[in-house]
Amino acid sequence: MHSVVQGVLAFVQAWWVELLCAVVIVLVVPLLAGYIVLVERKVMADMQARLGPMRVGPHGLLQPIADALKLLIKEDLVPGDADKFIFWFAPVLSMTAALTSMGAVAFGPWFQVARDINIGLLFVVGISALGPFGIVLGGWASNNHYSIIGAIRSTAQLISYETTAGFALVSGFLLAGTLKVTDIVKAQLDDHAWYVFLAPVGFFTYLIASIAETNRAPFDLPEAGSELVAGYMTEYSGFRWSLYFLAEYANMIVVGSVGVTLFLGGWLRPFPNVPWMAWVDVLPVVLLAAVGVFCVRRAGKQPARVQVLFMWAVAAACLVVALIFALAAPVRLAPLSFMYAGLYGAFWFLLKVSVYLYLFMWLRFTLPRFRFDQLMRLGWHILIPLALVNVLAVGVMLALYLNCGWNRWLATALTTIATLLVGMLLIRWNDQHAAAASASIASDGAQEEDAYAG
């Protein structure tokens, strides 16, 4: 017994940084997911010329907490014909996969749980690929037709778009020459370019595939509200439902982090190699201070006393964090410089992930949902061939640059144009194919109608 306690203590002593990071991730991600939901509702309201949640807290700022409380105390229903064990197990699986895969994501140069693993981003991608099992098994265990249709759609969608995402990641890995998360970001620093500029087609195929993998609109067929009630989560309620919900948003953060790490320079600030652009480092302080001042100015206009207090609290928090950032700047050269690097890295990383997620929301409220055959055709006829050609193009680009001594940007431009031409051919060929297919369907329908008429 004594030796067990000692072993645990030694383990904690050896790994306390990693343990702390893991605990922070597990605690913060659900809160963050709740606030992403609030931002999403606000963005949706803004795009539809409404106000969105306004009642709970100033501008609805306490809405996520109220929602979480409501979900926790809601009745937890299990359908009588459901497979109890799998029904219980499925949402947990989704959530576990999403949180575990965050272990290898580097939120800034120091905030990472699994720092030294060689497979790096592959770990993130592979573990987060386990999440859809939760969706599939949950849909099956509910014993409901809507749920099982949602589950089957989700499986088909996953199989189709995982391949595209994989090939898109390969094009980035080719450029970086490593799978390690920290080394990928360092490679982008050494190459003087984010990989989105060296493999633009790769980035955009990854973007589309990542939206499809997280089941977000316009690819939200597994939960399509207007046709399947709520798809795989029709029978879920209360806390289990909120686990699915959290898993979806945690997965969004994961795919965003992978995209940012590989294609958008990870925690590097814009123009990391240009010395006179160093003034961007002031941006976090200015941004936070501006939010703080805004909150102070708005505090007097709040209708209720609680809201005024809350506004002051937010303002104080923003100003304190801004002060920490400002004070951290002089210690850049001191032994504490790693803190500076970590803080600023985390700021830029989270900013980029937020922009990525904003893009998700923007697309969700702009585009109508795909039909299932359109989704399959986009995946198999356009995206997978395009991603394959792109891997080839990046390989050719690297060969021209490294072995033939071409200018890197010239090689990139040529190969990208070639890839885009192939893409245009694919779309054109696919359009003709689709037209022929729909013509044949139409003629079939006409024959059937004739049969009925006869």
């Binding site: 497979d83 497979i119 592959l122 592979g126 573990i127 690929a129 098994l137 099956w140 199989i159």
Partner: protein, 175 residues
């Protein structure tokens, strides 16, 4: 000590879930236990410091093949299809195949005269506290020493893939 503890943890989960997979009546339950067995095998790979095999096992077998399995299980009505597939003759074939594989394993263990898990590995040139760069090692051996077998295998897989597509395709010209 810790290493063997981890190994026996994953190995026992793998064996128990493999047994449960065979004995379950419900096909989805079998699939879930197969997933557990595959995941714990991945854990054993990790314990052997083969990170790349670990993630390849998870991405290919769990994330790819098992998703397809479950997809098929959901589309096929097994309560109708199973009685047709299960015949006494097949049972004997299965039992004899299992026996042969088991005997093979015993013979290999006896011939190497070693406890499994010890001394079967090539000596590891890397320090034990750091993981060896086995992604690079694997790539070097696949694309260097074993390039020809690798290419032959990939051509074979391609042929199998195209063949299955051709066989599965609806014949529109058939009456």
């Amino acid at each position: 000590m810790l290493d063997s503890l981890v190994f026996y943890f994953f190995a026992s989960i793998a064996v128990v879930s493999a047994m449960l997979m065979v004995t379950r009546r419900n096909a989805i339950h079998s699939a879930v236990f197969l997933i557990t067995a595959l995941l714990s095998t991945a854990g054993i790979f990790l314990q052997l410091r083969a990170e790349f095999l670990f993630i390849a096992q998870i991405i290919l077998y769990v994330g790819g093949i098992m998703v397809l399995f479950i997809f098929v299980i959901m589309l096929v009505r097994l309560d109708v299809a199973l009685p047709r597939i299960l015949s006494p003759r097949r049972k004997w074939v299965a039992i004899s195949v299992a026996l042969i594989v088991f005997l093979e394993a015993i013979i290999i263990v006896l011939m190497s005269r070693k406890i499994p898990g010890q001394g079967l590995l090539v000596s590891n040139p890397y320090p034990s506290d750091k993981l060896p760069p086995n992604t690079e090692d694997l790539a070097n051996s696949l694309f260097g020493l074993y390039l020809l077998p690798f290419e032959i295998a990939s051509v074979l897989l391609l042929v199998a893939m195209i063949g299955s597509v051709v066989m599965a395709k609806k014949r529109t010209d058939a009456p």
